[in-house]
Amino acid sequence: MVIEDITLKIRKGDFFGIIGPNGGGKSTLLKAILGLIPVTSGKISIFGRSVHDARRLIGYVPQYAEFDKRFPISVWDVVLMGRRSVRGIHPFYSTEDKQQAIKALQTVQMDGFKKRHISELSGGQRQRVFIARALVSHPKILLLDEPTASVDKEMQKTIYDFLSELNKTMTIVLVTHDIGVLSSYVTRVSCLNRFIFTHDDDRVISKEMLEAAYHCPVDLIAHGVPHRVLDEHEKRSGNGKTKGNKR
């Protein structure tokens, strides 16, 4: 997947939504930010650092569909994995690691499920476990790839409420192909379909952005509202600090 000519600034404290059709390059963009795929031109800077140096500042929650549910591993072991970036090559997890893992599980309200096998969880529970794995290393930014893809409507709301809560202390960036679920939660939005369209200050998805991104009549997407303004949201004091800048 090639994405070209992108300039994207994400500010500290944003709850940033990147929307776009499947195959539009959303995951590619996330993987580039994570340093999993190289950027052929331009650069990405995170808090002024290179992608490689900033890895520890990012918590990543991948698409949950990508896991082998038969893999013999418990919730507890999955969450502890998140401490690897802090712990390094050391063969064992420390008491500190374990305390942090319990804290992270409490944050996502999954501390009662420590010993469960990952196949014994519902989609929403599993998603929260992977969020806990991302949180356990105390990231400054949380990246989520389709966080509610295989979760029912009710659980979607629970997860977004929870992310909103987390957003008080950290920057959140999520990608999704489902505009509906973004609803009132995000503070800023970009549309990505090989090219990117961002509304900088107001929380607006314009007709032009959507048409350009989806190549289809806006009315089908925006439920008949051609110029859909996302619901009012508490105004944030984004201090304008640049997080990502990809060209």
């Binding site: 994570l34 340093g35 999993l36 890895r55 520890r56 990012i58 990543y60 991948p62 990508e66 896991f67 082998d68 038969r70 893999f71 013999p72 591993i73 418990s74 507890w76 072991d77 999955v78 994995m81 998140g82 690897r84 970036s85 712990r87 390094g88 090559i89 050391h90 063969p91 064992f92 997890y93 010993k115 096998h117 014994e120 794995r133």
Partner: protein, 291 residues
């Protein structure tokens, strides 16, 4: 009956057989579990089969160069490690489809083995029967084999012990491993090297062709009933010891080919386990209480 069994266990070759079973089971239980969950059974099969070339080369050099010190297992080790390196080179990984590479190395290894063995004049140098190289003969294991196996098992156990955390992350979620700062290509190479060492440990027990059975079946059975990687390994080791000792005794008793008997015992247990699985409560039978 019990008396005859007891007298059997006093015989040195039976003791060696028992030791070899335990050593082989430790390595195949641990590494086999990784192989099964990481889905690299075919890749491991490729590494296993190329060792035939190494064994042939060792015999040929013993004959042609007079290098009697060159143990066939060392030849196998060299070929296995070489294959692991070839599989891991960026050139091979990026340019070729993995299963094609496996297929090519697999058959080249086997063909080289046949060529080298063909070049040995057996009236000059007595070599192990090719059939028992391919299909194993646990009853023919000598002390030197045991020493080599023991050394390799120590290396395997130590490396896995100290790198377990990272190997678990790698096998579960390679992308996350990369993000979290693990050198994924190095660790993948190390994984293949561990498979290579395990292969060499198993050759004497079940033979080149049947190595894949020991790498796969105990771990696959264990995986049906366990929910933790460590438990899976532990149970796989026990299953390995049980089936290989039982298979060896059967082969001794009824004069059957040992490697094949062991593999068939494992295969039978696998089928029984599959049938019994629905009747076993889904909560795992916990072998170790801690996580």
């Amino acid at each position: 009956m019990s008396e005859t069994l007891f007298s059997l266990f006093q015989m040195p070759f039976v003791q060696r057989m028992f030791l070899a079973s335990v050593l082989a089971s430790i390595s195949c239980g641990i590494i086999g579990s990784f192989v099964v969950v990481k889905r690299i059974v075919f890749l491991s099969g490729g590494i296993a089969h190329t060792t035939f070339g190494g064994i042939g080369l060792a015999y040929y050099l013993q004959y042609a160069m007079g290098w009697i010190w060159l143990d066939p297992l060392i030849g196998a080790l060299i070929f296995a490690v070489l294959t692991a390196f070839i599989m891991s080179t960026p050139f091979v990984k990026e340019r070729l489809r993995e299963d094609s590479t496996i297929g090519v190395l697999w058959v080249i290894g086997m063909a080289l083995g046949v060529m080298f063995l063909n070049g040995v004049d057996r009236s000059v140098l007595i070599i192990q029967d090719p059939v028992s190289i391919l299909f194993g003969n646990i009853l023919l294991i000598n002390l030197r084999d045991i020493m080599i196996m023991f050394t390799l098992v120590i290396v395997i156990v130590l490396l896995t012990f100290f790198l377990f955390k990272d190997l678990q992350i790698l096998t579960f979620d390679e992308e996350f491993a990369r993000i979290t700062g693990i050198n994924v290509s190095f660790l993948n190479l190390l994984m293949l090297l561990l498979v290579a060492l395990t292969t060499v440990v198993l050759i004497k027990v079940v033979g080149v062709v049947l190595v894949i059975a020991m790498l796969t079946i105990p771990a696959a059975i264990s995986g049906l009933f366990t929910h933790h990687l460590k438990h899976m390994m532990l149970l796989a080791v026990l299953i390995g010891v049980g089936t290989s000792v039982f298979g060896s005794i059967l082969s001794l008793w009824f004069n059957l080919p040992p490697g094949s008997t062991i593999v068939l015992v494992m295969g039978l247990l696998f089928i029984i386990a599959l049938i019994l699985k629905p009747f076993v409560p889904s909560k795992e039978v916990s072998l170790v209480t801690s996580t």
